[in-house]
Symmetry: D2
Subunit: 330 residues, 4 copies
Amino acid sequence: MIRFGVIGAGRIGKVHSATIAANPKAKLVYIADAMPKAAEELAGKHGAKVASIDEIMQAKDVDAVLVGSPTGFHAEQIQAASKAGKAIMCEKPVSLSVQQIHDTLKVVEKNKSTLMIGFNRRFDPNFAELESRIRKGAIGAVELVTVISRDPAPPPAEYVKGSGGLFRDMMIHDFDMARFLMGEEFVVVHALGSALVDKAIGQAGDVDTAAVQMQTASGRIAVITNSRRATYGYDQRIEVHGAQGMLSARNVHTTTVEFHGADGTLSDPIQNFFLERYSEAYANELNSFIVAVETGNRDPRPNGFDGLQAQRLADAATTSWQTGKPEVVL
Amino acid sequence: MIRFGVIGAGRIGKVHSATIAANPKAKLVYIADAMPKAAEELAGKHGAKVASIDEIMQAKDVDAVLVGSPTGFHAEQIQAASKAGKAIMCEKPVSLSVQQIHDTLKVVEKNKSTLMIGFNRRFDPNFAELESRIRKGAIGAVELVTVISRDPAPPPAEYVKGSGGLFRDMMIHDFDMARFLMGEEFVVVHALGSALVDKAIGQAGDVDTAAVQMQTASGRIAVITNSRRATYGYDQRIEVHGAQGMLSARNVHTTTVEFHGADGTLSDPIQNFFLERYSEAYANELNSFIVAVETGNRDPRPNGFDGLQAQRLADAATTSWQTGKPEVVL
Amino acid sequence: MIRFGVIGAGRIGKVHSATIAANPKAKLVYIADAMPKAAEELAGKHGAKVASIDEIMQAKDVDAVLVGSPTGFHAEQIQAASKAGKAIMCEKPVSLSVQQIHDTLKVVEKNKSTLMIGFNRRFDPNFAELESRIRKGAIGAVELVTVISRDPAPPPAEYVKGSGGLFRDMMIHDFDMARFLMGEEFVVVHALGSALVDKAIGQAGDVDTAAVQMQTASGRIAVITNSRRATYGYDQRIEVHGAQGMLSARNVHTTTVEFHGADGTLSDPIQNFFLERYSEAYANELNSFIVAVETGNRDPRPNGFDGLQAQRLADAATTSWQTGKPEVVL
Amino acid sequence: MIRFGVIGAGRIGKVHSATIAANPKAKLVYIADAMPKAAEELAGKHGAKVASIDEIMQAKDVDAVLVGSPTGFHAEQIQAASKAGKAIMCEKPVSLSVQQIHDTLKVVEKNKSTLMIGFNRRFDPNFAELESRIRKGAIGAVELVTVISRDPAPPPAEYVKGSGGLFRDMMIHDFDMARFLMGEEFVVVHALGSALVDKAIGQAGDVDTAAVQMQTASGRIAVITNSRRATYGYDQRIEVHGAQGMLSARNVHTTTVEFHGADGTLSDPIQNFFLERYSEAYANELNSFIVAVETGNRDPRPNGFDGLQAQRLADAATTSWQTGKPEVVL
């Protein structure tokens, strides 16, 4: 039984708390949040206790800390938890500063802590199956990875300002997915971006529509497209073209019901956003972390290095978009 | 080069005339119709000549007669063409009278004529491929055949009165398809029918919605459902369940375009009716007949016996519907 | 919080026990089984206590009894629980004897008990959505219901002998589904059946391949096909053809992954059997029962009458198959 | 009746000759080829005469010249035909030299000739329907165009050497398609390419796997991916993401037959290569040209400017790939 302290009672903290509460191998013990009321409400719902971050770090009945606070606090909380001897599961990104990630990983390494980064999509049953088949050789050598990732609706421009920008806030998931599927690091990154959906996003210095193409040292290519607004729902698809075939994973529709009328055949909508689309992924992710902690596996995937590399690609894409030139990532 | 005389310048006569004109191995020489104007128009379109039925039968520059006249004339015209030494392709059904079909086939046999019946769906590339795979053993022994066949809109009640009824007029195609796929004769037929679409059809003594289930001597089962009205177009699907798998053939959509919106994914409509859906089937059918004539194959499929058996099933279904009891067909 | 006593620790008892344990509004208190070891194991897994059936009936800390015993015990246990003032959820079928069902429903009515029958497929999200749209008028008047239901592999002939036969054991789910979707009772039933999959099933006096067509008083038609063996998995599909369109619900595949190779596009397999395919349905079903108990709704659906009618159709189909004649059900 | 002289009896010349022969509004009069035997064979097949290029240009019974010669001859033959007062349909590309295209278009303009360029994919019924819906506003403003285009098997390295490279030889079709769908010119082009499929292609100075992303002045983005080898056939797909929805066009399978087995559902293969996939497109393309000639429309689409712009994008992509930097196209 792994006993958790959760830091952050916001949207993602709620997701993880519910997942912990439902997992028979986990126990939700403490919840911390800068907003006492949010912490109390969430703790009450799952029979947990409210605690300060320090209390969680010191608590003897906490084996693992789940870091679901705002991004700016991730690095220091990982470090504190590592020093306190806790296993750590941290939401992406580790930090918007690559230097800070480096520093954090050193602490984690020194303390031999178990650290896992919340790239939840790796645990989606569809994408996990796809990756598993690639590794088994189903399509031979991977040559071309295509990641399509679009949100149903744009966030407020206010949110965008503090987000680090689309490449670091949204596409970072896709950078991780491209690395996950390709199995080789990317060395060239070229990004295009525009504010086509909401002018206020452009005025805030960000984009809402973007494309990135990347190449590995051996010449393999990945293409990512993002939009902050897809009227048809949360578009999450992947294609991997290899020497011996192609694997694809389609969107998930809410049901299999189809209406057949004079206009054609109309499926049900696709699942609208990440809480619905990736609910199983969150449960699998947590379970994978728990198994790592239980078995003493100090290097579960995605690990801190995965967090670092995704951030470096996001930084490179941001710079490429700003300068109009490809960036080299070595 | 096979030289054709076409009897009948109506809807189906036009289809066949155009198909003959487009086939490089065929030549459309004469067209006959009780309505001189219809014959002239069609002949003019394809550079053919108008002739009487007798003239076609006697013409030395006619190798094959295509019988596309109203059903009531099929039997006598087949017999006349057979006696005149012509190859014959005749639209379904041969006759509404099983006895008349027997008599006609005797004449055809005596004269060693080539006779093919226009069950065009056997030549649809999708259904032909499906049948071909069954024969190659793709699903092992056939156990359960499902034929779904629905028209986009009901005919006028007037038409229905002279049609022989849904089972003989519409479902006869599906009886042929079930025999084609099953590869064993049916011995029990049970039919249900209702006039749900148009009460006038019921008042005319016919049904517009029907289901038939049939069984072979070895216990294999086929199920056919018909409706005279499918708002979503011309629904033509088949499923064959076997000991080692299932084969299915879906509807054909007008294009592969899909619209993705908040309501779901909307395909293009399915092809609306038989001229569109089976255009390739008509061309393949004619070509198959031409090859038979050219190579002296006097028994192309579907042959006169196929025409006879489909008619017997249609009769049995009609009786079953009327009596409420299963019919035995031996 | 609804407190449950579960009778039966076999396959279906395990499913329901796990579902109860996972539902935040339910508590699993007691488990009874003729095999003490099975009861102990299941109770241990979920922190419940082992009890005799009588103890469960008398227990003050039991609000609802879940009847998951062999079919032969259902009726008496429903009656006992009803007399003891418990709410009852009973697996299908209520009984193989229509008379016994009548007697049981009288007891339930007299005691004003809440009784729900375990036709779990009504709670499958796909079929539930389909039915909901029919009721909202999405396709106008229902004219033709098609239920396709095939198991992945046949049961042992031994099982078949005590099962009541395919129509009562397997197709009973489909009879319920046809009634659920049609919204009108069937008055004519005609069944065909064969032992094509396993001769031992035929020798045991049963069939493994069957088709049933039924008609309502107003002429609407339903067609059901069953096979005890589908090499491609647990085939569970529905189509409803109406005056204004068609609704269909397809099979559920294990993932959305597709492999594209020279042979074509290969999807993942469909979910293999009912525990996987209907896991969400079982949870929804239990929840629906709990809501009924909590809100004092004494007539949740599917109710005892639904259990009765499905059994009557199953009996009629069995007789029709045996006599070769349609049966009238009034 | 438009009378054609065809220059080139190679693969594409054969396609166009057959299309002309089958079109009731066209007559194939002359065929010219540097290889007399090829010209004779093709002419014989369609009842046409062999002629020299000069003879075709001078022939009074030629209304239109179809230029299907090797690329190096296109420009001069267009000019000669234009000067001779013929309408011209020319295979893509007009020339590998942008300057030569400019010169050629001046001649065409001076002589007020009808010139159409053979970007056949615009006439594919699926892509044409997709574009038509965009123009009707089905998805609002276009934001992101994705073109997936992959050949079944790579050409010999020998062919590659004289082809102008993948971007000019293969992706030029996709540049045209991106322009066709976007409806706005691209100003930035960035290309990545690798020789992953066949090292000999790399040694010949070309690539076989490539991605290009482009942006318009208003910020809209297009992404193209190419591979010279797709084991699963000729992969030709398009997606257009707009402010109000997404439109997509999928691959075309050879039939609708699906096999359902333990491994999943296996569709038929996709159509293997361009002659099969675009046979209808070639017929529609020719017909569109004939209608333009008949109606005196001197500016059918795709016109010479379309040929010029696609070539400029191909040149820019080639340079971008070589320099590793984005190219500006103004």
